[in-house]
């Protein structure tokens, strides 16, 4: 059985790292978007979303992620997903998220990629 949705966030090297656990649905997506907006408004444009503990994502949750990607795209920022379950990775790929967002095996890899960007 999965756990109720929860997230933690941390600022590392000027990058926002959001780690989620549980079902990324309307509730989960909204919570991620809220956390993103809070930092985005303060100028953070490099985001890492660690979905290691989120094995299930629905399209409502994905619509929030797409909005985040669009906002970052407009602002010249970047989002990188990490620790993806194969099924979730396939879902995000089919929905076209990786056209504008990156994916890396671990948060450390993602931070390395983001901090090397000008």
């Amino acid at each position: 059985m999965d756990q109720p949705f929860a997230l933690t966030s941390d600022l590392k090297d000027n990058c926002l790292v959001i780690a989620t656990s549980g079902y990324v649905n309307n509730v989960g997506g909204e919570a991620i978007a809220k956390e993103f907006t809070r930092h985005f408004e303060k100028g953070t444009k490099k985001i890492v979303i660690n979905l290691a503990k989120s094995k299930v994502v629905n399209s409502i949750g994905m619509s929030f992620l797409i909005e985040i990607i669009e906002q970052l795209e407009d602002a010249g920022g970047k989002l990188v997903f990490t620790d993806l379950d194969p099924a979730v990775e396939k879902m995000l790929a089919i929905m076209g998220l990786f056209k504008y967002a990156g994916k890396e095996p671990t948060v450390e890899d993602a931070l390395r990629v983001l901090t090397s960007r000008k």
Partner: protein
């Protein structure tokens, strides 16, 4: 510049353009969505737009494209393609400066442009929604196929249901789901997603879809609750029900396949056990009978299954005599074969002890009783032949009569004088008899697989072709030939009917 993605951005970029057309004027952009009566001030250029729009619209709820001078300035509102309203309010920099007719035309034209731009925005938004929707359909189909593959791989039936539930919830945008397994009215297993919840708090049929199937006397029910949208909970669609049905069918098929596979593996294991039992039995049933000086002996055993419950042997004993044995265990298959093994082992041991035949039978009765279940027993004929004088001490424990063809052409039946071995746990007195097989006489031992062989019309061999007559009518020079002729005759009689029981025979001819 990045593409304008919403009405706020559109208002902001439009206001910058309008500011160039109406230099020094104050400009407000206002917006009212189709389901709202409140105006939103999107761009506040201090043109007192909210006051102007109230004056402009008066009591009207909405307006088609229109333009009006207001006491404050100039105001225009336009109904957009999605029934929302855009309004622009201008205020001149000083009370003395008035808006000209050219300004009115200019604003009218600008409203036209704004309308076109808004339509494009809506098109882009619809296009995006359409792409998202198409991608989601592809995702649903893909996930349906993947889930089918995954559920057929999983070892644990609980994870199989949980996986299908997760996928169903995810693909239909359900906020939660449950799988219940019932035996009768009793719920024996429940799986929740995303975590345990109470279904009592969920009201309304539209907020729930369900599907169920039955397997192995259990009813499996999948239920999903509360289809999510960005606007809140919405009713499930027909395709959601179809997806849930399809995923449940995959689980059902997987459970059935697993059941059939387990059954197949069980059959394979059983076949392996049978092969081992058959190999053991092959060592018990003699491949070649011993040569007895002055006699010609032949025998055959054809089990109806891979292992049988019949037994025969001709065992040379230490004093130059031979034990002639034929036995039939009640039942077939491995249990019968096990009892045959026991009989063979005990008989061999007791024969070495050279004890009287009646005592041997009593001992066998006891050990077979202990080694078998209540419904298992053995009928047997045991004879000790002294080849020199043809004396045969014999004992028939519930077995078919043995035929002895005398020199005068008469057939003597040597019938049962004792209970089958292992039938009762009591010291039943078995009694042996003694006869003499003269030169040229023939002895025929058989099991009921011969007399009760059936043809396609379910007729018994012995009824249609009495065995005694066959015995009398077939007196070939060699014992082996008699056995071959007998088997040929039985096969001819039974035709394509399957062999119903083990066939065993032992034939002894004292040479003239």
């Amino acid at each position: 510049m990045s593409a304008v993605t919403n009405h706020v951005d559109l208002a902001k970029s439009s206001s910058r353009l309008l500011a160039k057309l109406f230099k020094n004027s104050k400009i407000d952009f206002l917006y009212r969505s189709q389901n709202s009566s409140d105006w939103q001030l999107l761009v506040d250029g201090r043109a007192r737009g909210l006051e102007q729009i109230r004056d402009f619209l008066g009591d009207r709820n909405q307006s088609s494209f229109s333009l009006k001078k207001t006491p404050i300035g100039l105001c225009s509102a336009s109904l957009m393609a999605d029934d929302s309203l855009f309004a622009i309010a201008l205020k001149s920099p000083s009370s003395r400066a008035k808006f000209s007719e050219t300004d009115k035309v200019l604003l009218r034209l600008f409203m036209n442009l704004l309308d076109t731009a808004y339509q494009q925005l809506l098109h882009r938004r619809n296009e995006k929604a359409l792409i998202f929707s198409l991608n989601h359909r592809v995702l649903q189909l893909n996930s349906l196929i993947d889930t089918g593959i995954e559920v057929s791989k999983l070892d644990q039936s609980a994870s199989l249901q949980q996986l299908a539930l997760e996928r169903a919830a995810s693909l239909t945008n359900a906020s939660k789901g449950i799988v219940r397994i019932r035996e009768g009215d009793k719920v024996v297993e429940e799986s929740f997603f995303p975590d345990r919840f109470s279904t009592q708090a969920i009201n309304g049929e539209q907020q729930t879809i369900a599907t169920s199937f039955k397997f192995a006397n259990r009813a499996f029910t999948f239920e999903l609750f509360e289809k999510e949208s960005r606007r809140g909970v919405i009713p499930f669609e027909d395709t959601d029900q179809m997806l849930l049905d399809a995923l449940a069918r995959q689980v059902h098929a997987s459970l059935e396949n697993r059941f059939l596979l387990e059954k197949e593996l069980e059959n394979q294991r059983f076949e392996q056990d049978m092969a081992v039992a058959a190999a053991i039995q092959k060592k018990i049933i003699p491949i070649k009978l011993p040569d007895i000086a002055g006699y010609d002996v032949a025998g055959i055993n054809i089990p109806s299954k891979s292992v049988g419950g019949d037994y025969y042997d001709c065992i040379p004993l230490g004093d130059g005599s031979f034990a002639l044995v034929i036995a039939d265990v009640a039942g077939k298959g491995v249990p019968a074969a096990l009892l045959v093994s026991s009989l063979h082992a005990y008989l061999s041991a007791y024969l070495e002890g050279a004890i009287p035949l009646s005592q041997l039978a009593q001992r066998l009765n006891k050990v077979i009783w202990r080694a078998s279940t209540d419904d298992k027993f053995i009928t047997a004929f045991i004879g000790i032949l002294k080849p020199g004088n043809g004396e045969l001490e014999m004992l028939n424990a519930g077995h078919n009569p043995t035929y002895l063809l005398r020199r005068d052409g008469s057939v003597q039946e040597l019938g049962a004088v004792g209970l089958p071995l292992g039938m009762l746990d009591m010291d039943f007195p078995y009694q042996s008899e003694r006869i003499t097989i003269e030169k040229g006489e023939r002895l025929f031992l058989y099991t009921d697989g011969i007399t009760e062989a059936v043809n396609e019309r379910e007729e018994f061999y012995d009824v249609e072709r009495p065995l005694r007559d066959f015995f009398l009518g077939h007196q070939p020079a060699q014992s082996g030939a008699f056995i071959r002729e007998l088997i040929t005759d039985i096969k001819k009689f039974t035709g394509s009917a399957p062999q119903s029981d083990d066939i065993t025979a032992l034939y002894l001819r004292r040479l003239p």
